[in-house]
Subunit: 76 residues, 2 copies
């Protein structure tokens, strides 16, 4: 994966982690809210996953942010 | 795929198509600019592909819009 993309995935992951922490949720509780596996949340937060667009939408919904706002918070 | 996600993918596809048309590019020329296959551009524009996040970034870059702006134009 291009270095640029890896950096952007990490930025998205950090914005997702910040959103999760605002909700005061553990990765496990947040995974349940998103209906994804707990380890997937950890991987996405660390920028290790080339997450699908529909999962970005699902996670943004679970955080309670518009996807465009979540990306803006990630500086994207 | 959930109906909601299908609707959102179509909205993203329409915003990408509008961006491409603003550049006055054919799907073929735009695919070359994005370094993806021509048929992939058509599928994404029709909302038929659960596009990866890094490809959303790549396409936004090719359009010359921030990814958060592209999503905003898609109403997401």
């Amino acid at each position: 994966m291009a270095a640029e993309s890896a950096k952007e995935l990490r930025a998205l992951g950090e914005a997702i982690r910040a959103g999760r922490k605002t909700l005061g949720l553990s990765q496990e509780d947040f995974a349940e809210r998103c209906d994804v596996h707990r380890t997937y949340v950890g991987q996405v937060e660390r920028g290790e996953k080339n997450i699908s667009f529909t999962n970005v939408l699902r996670i943004a919904r679970a955080i309670g942010q518009k996807p465009s706002v979540l990306l803006g918070k990630a500086g994207l």
